[in-house]
């Protein structure tokens, strides 16, 4: 079971959306994330840089069909942080529901 650990770096909505996509995949193309989330190239680059600097995301630039692509993947640290963050969010929701039921 993952230990709940709220992560301030992941929590902002845009970054959480990016990490949620990456968490469900082994790797994802930059263009796919950009299109799915409706972000500009620069906005996504900025968010990925932040995540990369934190060691949560690894960026690769493989060449295929003579085109340079950008792929992002969560590092094991990033995955652990994401799982911990989700567990923390569930704990917040769970405790609120318990209080509600206890007070009913």
């Amino acid at each position: 079971m993952t230990a709940a650990r709220f992560d301030e770096l992941i929590h902002p909505s845009t970054r959480l959306s990016i990490v949620a996509l990456l968490a469900a995949a082994d790797w994802v193309d930059f263009a796919f994330v950009r299109d799915q989330l409706g972000l500009s190239d620069s906005a996504l680059s900025k968010q990925l840089s932040t995540l990369e600097q934190a060691g949560y995301v690894h960026i690769e630039r493989p060449v295929s069909d003579h085109r340079r692509r950008v792929q992002a993947r969560l590092t094991p640290e990033g995955r652990a942080a994401f799982n911990g963050h989700v567990a923390a969010l569930r704990a917040i929701v769970g405790s609120a529901e318990s209080e509600l039921l206890g007070g009913a």
Binding site: A25, F32, V93
Partner: protein, 158 residues
């Protein structure tokens, strides 16, 4: 532990996480060319079998198996429909390859059964006819099979 995050905020964040997972689940599939290739190969194999040259049939079957064995491992897990991402094994599940291969074995049995029935009816080229019938099942049923997998993944995610 966490800054002042309200339960409503936490719920909204969990919804964001869920939406991300659902977007990736939509990518679980096999490329269309796999189903068309399998169907065309099936018909070709049926046609060759109807020629009734044992060595030719054996050779074609081996070739079909070899081509499938070289292509299938790259796509049959349902995680690489597009070149934009690879779905994680946790999300796609580990059973897609078994489902597809099980389906192929079942369709081989169907091909034999339909061939025997068509042959008993006196029609010419029974295996070709049976293969065409099965090819239609492959092209129409294959994507449906993966749609069911996605539906189950969505349900498991909810």
């Amino acid at each position: 532990m966490e800054r002042n995050v309200t339960p409503l905020e936490a719920r909204a964040a969990l919804d964001t996480v869920e939406r991300g997972r659902l977007r990736i689940i939509e990518e679980i599939d096999l490329p269309a060319w796999y189903w068309w290739g399998l169907a065309l190969g099936w018909i070709a194999l049926g046609f060759i079998t109807d020629l009734q040259h044992a060595w030719l049939t054996a050779g074609a079957t081996l070739l079909f198996g070899a081509v499938h064995a070289s292509v299938a491992p790259r796509v049959i897990d349902g995680r690489r429909r597009s070149r934009h991402l690879r779905v994680s094994a946790d999300v796609a599940g580990h059973h897609i390859a078994r489902l597809v291969l099980g389906g192929i074995i079942a369709l081989a049995v169907v091909t034999i059964a339909v061939s025997l029935a068509v042959n008993a009816d006196g029609a010419g080229h029974p295996v070709t006819i049976a293969s065409c019938f099965v090819a239609v099942i492959i092209v129409l049923g294959g994507p449906q099979l993966l749609a069911t997998v996605r539906r189950r993944a969505r349900a498991a995610s909810a």
